[in-house]
């Protein structure tokens, strides 16, 4: 049944309110990034800067190696996302298709492992990486991010694999395809939206992560963007607000671009999965 006009209007209003709520911090960040210091300290702040300036961006780039940090972040996040998906896909397939006490226990462990706080892990992790000579190295950080994002990636992918009807695989088997061939030629293409969503999750996790990068990356040449952003903060929460906003705005752009590029595919895939199940 189609909703009535007032109900539809209400839905749109609710959606608009939600979007405004979600967008507020980002729009405020953009506004702040273009404001000169005196406008930042105004008792009556405005959305549109009265005297917009690029000085905050210039200062941010002058003071901190933002481009190098962004390159490090991209490299680590892309590698972590790819590796996590490559490792998680066959594991997820096994856990989804071969249900047993072991796979149920593994799923439970995956959920529990998400509850471990960073500080519990960081010192043993630091020592392990030190022994492997992977402190202050981007591969070391990538490994950490892969391990960190793997449980949730696995959990996500299990759901996607379960949404693929087993009858399709059985049909492929009847046609003579082996297990690997079935996985590569039949299941994997249907999993594509799930793989993209999982990779995106792993990418965002690595892109935003701060604490591991802070502790593991010692030299300025290796630091990632979230670590470099804290260099605009002083003691007792004092901040160089304009350059910080400018740098933070730039730091959000890659995630936004990636979401914009794959959004259609992501939602389309999710809906497809829903109909099949």
């Amino acid at each position: 049944m189609r909703p009535s006009r007032p109900a539809r209007a209400g839905q749109y209003l609710a959606l608009l309110a939600y979007l405004v709520f979600l967008a507020f911090p980002f729009l405020w960040l953009i506004s702040t990034a273009f404001k000169p210091p005196r406008e930042l300290a105004s008792l009556h702040p405005t959305w549109i800067p009265k005297d917009p300036t690029l000085a905050n961006f210039r200062q941010a780039f002058d003071e901190q190696p933002l481009l190098r940090a962004a390159a490090n972040s991209v490299l680590v996040a892309v590698c972590a996302a790819l590796i996590a998906v490559v490792i998680a896909t066959p594991m997820a397939y096994v856990m989804a298709r071969h249900r047993s006490a072991l796979s149920r226990a593994a799923t439970g462990w995956v959920v529990v492992s998400q509850a471990f706080p960073f500080v519990l892990l960081i010192i043993p992790l630091f020592l392990i990486l030190k022994n492997l000579h992977l402190i202050n190295s981007l591969p070391g950080l990538t490994m950490v991010y892969v391990v960190w994002s793997l449980p949730f990636a696995l959990w996500m992918l299990v759901g996607y694999v379960r949404a693929v009807p087993p009858e399709l695989e059985e049909a492929a088997a009847v046609d003579g395809a082996g297990k690997l061939r079935t996985l590569v030629s039949v299941t994997a293409p249907l999993l594509a939206p799930g793989l993209v969503a999982t990779a995106l999750f792993a990418f965002i996790t690595a892109w935003n992560e701060f604490f591991f990068a802070l502790v593991l990356m010692k030299t300025p040449e290796r630091q990632t963007l979230p670590v470099v952003l804290t260099h605009f903060l002083g003691a007792e929460g004092v901040a160089d607000l304009g350059p910080l906003a400018a740098a933070a705005f730039l730091a959000t752009l890659p995630s936004l671009v990636i979401f914009a590029l794959i959004q259609r595919r992501l939602t389309g895939g999710m809906l497809t999965g829903a109909v099949k199940s």
């Binding site: 005196r38 008792l43 702040p45 490559v86 630091f126 030190k130 202050n136 802070l214 007792e236 004092v238």
Partner: protein, 428 residues
């Protein structure tokens, strides 16, 4: 040519990417390389630090220093992990109130035999006390800042109140009377930014003789909340809740948050750290006339607690002697002045404090410099269990007291009774 399959291509690309971003090794050329982790964050300060490292490196080809940027926001956790992993920087920039755990944990080198007499005698004993834990000295205190009253000069002049000076400051009673006079018509004499109320309260209480922490003959520390301890907190409470001369809205704010209201003339004065002058210079509207006034004085004059910035040497550093030499270079009087100017703070060194650049009327450097002799070690700095007392007991109790939710009796009960239970656990 046979084409590579897609999965193989992805795998190859990943391998190539990872190989390309490998950190690589460092050639052993016989030179000593020290890592200096600095927390400087303002451009002038970072520039001063980097320039000094450059000058050191040019003069010491065999002892090179590598500048590593740290951040105030996360320094404790980052250092703790580095110490545990045996990867700490050789020279460590931090604040004295963050050193106790590291010093007692054996992570920092005792500097008593490493530093030259010049530096030892240049820094006054009361500053050394801020970095002394047990029998050892674990950091060189080099920059500090008093809490001052930053005032809207126009409002004060218009009200005709007496302007305090370091020689003739306001008493706490006079301060309360002045803020009353400056209030009315939705304007307040003072805005207390007390998001972190404990250190501000403790440090300002020293002027009235309040210490709150008292060490007994057995070395154990107990909390008391005597009349002297009550002077500063009562003044704030009464300004907010009785006189309406302090804004209740700013009690939950950080220092920077109060500046827009200050610039708009909503508050005549804001108690802030001396280094906030940099933000005021940067952000104040054109023509805004401001001045720095000393904080109110009590029976102990202008005494005030501080936790200076420090330079320490890691216990695990294989080059402690060289690290101490670098610290000595960094803290020679002219260099200490450069660091102080870069951070808008006061140097601890007596020679550096004499520099004319720190006695100018411009941006009221002279007022702050005149207060340097009254700065003392923050009362709670070496008290084990202070962090838990602060977070679990004192912060909520003071917040409730300042906002008028509880009275002085309840505040006293919580600070003392609950507080001593916490401290006792650390002193068994």
């Amino acid at each position: 040519m046979r084409r590579m399959s897609r999965p193989a291509a992805v795998a190859a690309a990943v391998t190539l990417l990872l190989t390309g971003c490998s950190s690589g090794g460092t050639a052993d050329d016989g030179k000593i390389t020290l890592e200096f982790q600095s927390l400087a964050w303002q451009k002038e300060s970072v520039d001063a630090n980097k320039q000094l490292v450059k000058e050191w490196n040019a003069a010491h080809p065999d002892i090179q220093v590598k500048y590593v940027q740290g951040s105030w926001d996360s320094v404790h956790d980052q250092l703790l992990t580095s110490f545990e992993g045996g990867e700490a920087p050789d020279v460590i920039h931090d604040a004295s109130d963050d050193l106790a755990d590291f010093a007692y944990g054996g992570y920092l080198a005792d500097l008593r035999d490493l530093l030259p007499d010049r530096l030892k005698s240049d820094i006054p004993q009361h500053s050394w006390e801020t970095a002394t834990f047990g029998d050892g000295v674990y950091g060189v205190p080099f920059l500090q800042e008093p809490r001052v009253l930053i005032a809207n000069a126009k409002i004060l002049d218009a009200a005709g109140v007496r302007i305090p000076t370091p020689e003739k400051p306001w008493s706490w009673e006079e301060f309360r009377a002045v803020t009353k006079k400056l209030s009315g018509d939705k304007k307040f004499g003072v805005a207390w930014p007390l998001k972190e109320p404990v250190s501000a309260t403790l440090n300002l209480s020293l002027s009235a003789g309040g210490r709150m922490f008292h060490r007994g003959a057995d070395g154990k520390v107990t909390v008391r909340f005597d009349a002297a301890d009550q002077v500063a907190p009562r003044t704030v409470h009464d300004q907010v809740n009785t006189d309406a001369s302090a804004s209740g809205a700013t009690l939950g704010m950080g220092g920077s948050d109060t500046l827009p209201g200050f610039f708009a003339g909503k508050y005549a004065m804001v108690p802030l750290g001396f280094s906030y002058r940099q933000q005021i210079v940067q952000q104040a509207p054109k023509g805004f006339d401001w001045k720095v006034l000393p904080a109110p004085a009590g029976r102990d004059g202008l005494a005030q607690g501080v936790s200076p910035q420090t330079l320490s040497v890691a216990e695990d550093s294989p080059h402690k002697k060289e690290a101490a030499q670098f610290i000595d270079f960094l803290l020679r009087p002219p260099n200490m002045v450069r660091l102080a100017l870069g951070d808008w703070m006061l140097p601890t060194g007596t020679e550096a404090l004499k520099d004319p650049a720190l006695h100018t009327e411009k941006n009221d450097w002279a007022t702050g410099t005149a207060l340097a002799g009254d700065l003392r070690s923050a009362p709670a700095q070496s008290v084990r269990g202070y962090a838990e007392w602060k977070d679990k007991v004192a912060t909520p109790a003071l917040q409730e007291y300042y906002s008028g939710s509880i009275g002085l009796g309840e505040l006293r009960k919580r600070l003392v009774k609950d507080g001593n239970l916490v401290l006792a656990r650390y002193q068994r």
